[in-house]
């Protein structure tokens, strides 16, 4: 099994700032915008971006929640391992709001498909955007594309992209792992 570094901490930092900047460009004061981190790994990314929005752009009153998609997945009883749920925390209504989904790796698009269904339980959003840190652009099973994109990666199906965050994994780094 080999692994190589795709992005180091400095590169990740630059990308995070660019993504935050792009969000501000489109959403200005975030009055009608809600940020949703997709459980489990999208939450770390979402919290990083929110920190930048708060500290560098002074956007303080931000609606932020996390969404677990386990019960909406299309592979129930299909995988070898049973699915384990995470916490959903959305204590506001998304009706008529602009929703931004944040997830670390966009791969087949199936998680985002599930998230699109799941978010409807909280109302009818005005629009939904997707921010992904890594876009594995040739591996999609569904017609889903990101609106904000950290880095495009061309990886084959046998390879795995792993995004580590220092809060959870001790370091900021993106690995490409081959079996």
């Amino acid at each position: 099994m080999g692994q190589r570094i795709l992005l180091n901490a400095d590169e990740i930092n630059i990308i995070l700032h660019r993504l935050a900047c792009q969000l501000v460009e489109n959403h200005t004061d975030f009055k009608h915008t809600v940020i949703i981190g997709i459980q489990p790994r999208g939450v770390f990314l979402a919290e990083r971006i929110i920190k930048i929005l708060q500290e560098e752009y002074g956007i303080t009153d931000l609606n932020y929640g996390h969404l677990d998609i386990t019960f909406y997945r299309d592979d129930f009883r299909r995988g070898e391992k049973p699915l384990e749920a995470n916490k959903t925390k959305i204590d506001f209504i998304v009706e008529d709001k602009k929703v931004v989904f944040i997830d670390d790796v966009l791969y087949t698009g199936r998680s985002i498909r599930a998230a699109l269904t799941a978010i409807q339980s909280f109302g009818r959003p005005a629009e939904i955007e997707l921010l992904s840190f890594i876009d594995r652009r040739f591996s999609r099973h569904l017609p889903i594309q990101p609106d904000y994109n950290g880095r495009q990666v061309d990886a084959i199906n046998e390879e795995k992209v792993i995004v580590n965050w220092k809060e959870n994994d001790g370091e900021d780094v993106v690995y490409l792992v081959s079996k």
Partner: protein, 309 residues
């Protein structure tokens, strides 16, 4: 650990502590789901569940049906009163006929103890026991423990007294198993005639004085006197029973602490519990009902994830 150790929920006796933990953790997620504006998830859209009720039930049946529907399962209902059981069909035949219509899971209430276990050995479906005679009522015990955990933080180390008709109660037996498994201390309290012999062998204490029992406990689970299961007289009169074993306001006010009051329903107001106590803030009777849906969703979800495709 994200899988149950069993393929059926026949009784608490067959579960381990990890199973209960997993059910509660999953129920936490479903409790959040049923408080959303849209209270439904599509997880079980390819699962069909038959609710077979060979004995009357309102709460349990509604609760199971809601749980199944909120998981998007297809549901068929069956009650013995309006069926071929009356014409002499056997239990296995009835169930096999229903299963041949491609049903994946059976939720069954039956007046005979062990009916669920019997069925699980003879038919090819996941079985959930929704009460079998005076034997077990596992989902009730799970939701009772879940409600204690929700109110008091944890079940371990808590003192729980179960008051009333222990002899005929499946709720009592399942609760004893569930509470002991989670490390609670348990006592039963009631007229001697309604406490089974050798119940101490399950590791529970026996108390015949309600006041002493209430002074000892953190949680009192008040059971209904099951007149329909009593073939002989176990106590002289309902009035005398109420005098000795009724939980009322003056008894609660005589304590120097607040205890949690539970009741599995249906309540006989004025017999085992007064209206004042049943409707008070420290009575979690309606929380139990709400938690029942979440806990049953968790049980069904976890069992369904083990059904082979």
């Amino acid at each position: 650990m994200s899988e149950l150790s069993v393929n059926h929920l026949l009784g608490i006796k067959y579960l381990n502590e990890k199973d209960i933990e997993l059910i509660f953790k999953t129920a936490d997620h479903f409790k959040e789901v049923i408080n959303r504006p849209i209270k439904k998830v599509p997880s079980l859209r390819d699962i069909t569940i038959a609710n077979l009720f060979f004995e009357n039930s309102t709460r349990t049946r509604l609760s199971f049906e809601l749980a199944e529907k909120r998981l998007s399962a297809d549901v068929v209902n069956f009650s013995a009163a309006s069926s071929s059981v009356k014409k002499g069909e056997t239990l296995i035949d009835t169930v096999n006929n229903i299963l041949s219509m491609k049903v994946d899971m059976v939720v069954m209430r039956h007046p005979n103890p062990g009916a669920g276990i019997f069925l699980s050995r003879h038919v090819n479906a996941s079985i959930v026991n929704a009460g079998d005679g005076a034997h077990e009522h596992p989902t009730q015990a799970l939701l009772d423990s879940y409600s204690i955990r929700e109110r008091l933080g944890e079940v371990r180390g808590k003192k729980v007294v179960i008051v009333g008709d222990i002899l005929h109660s499946r709720v009592a037996l399942s609760n004893i198993f569930a509470l002991k498994l989670q490390g609670a201390e348990v006592k039963v309290c009631g007229p001697k005639t309604l406490i089974p012999k050798h119940i101490e062998s399950l590791g529970v204490g026996v108390e015949t004085n309600l006041k002493k029992a209430i002074e000892w406990c953190d949680v009192a689970n008040m059971l209904r006197v099951q007149n329909e299961r009593m073939d002989i007289s176990y106590f002289p009169s309902t009035r005398e029973y109420a005098q000795q074993f009724q939980l009322n306001k003056s008894l609660l006010e005589s304590l120097d602490k607040e205890i949690v009051v539970m009741h599995p329903g249906p309540i006989n107001r004025g017999v085992e519990i007064t209206s004042q106590v049943a409707d008070a803030e420290n009575a979690i009777i309606l929380d139990q009902v709400q938690n029942g849906v979440a806990v049953r969703m968790a049980v069904i979800y976890l069992l369904a994830s083990k059904i082979n495709r």
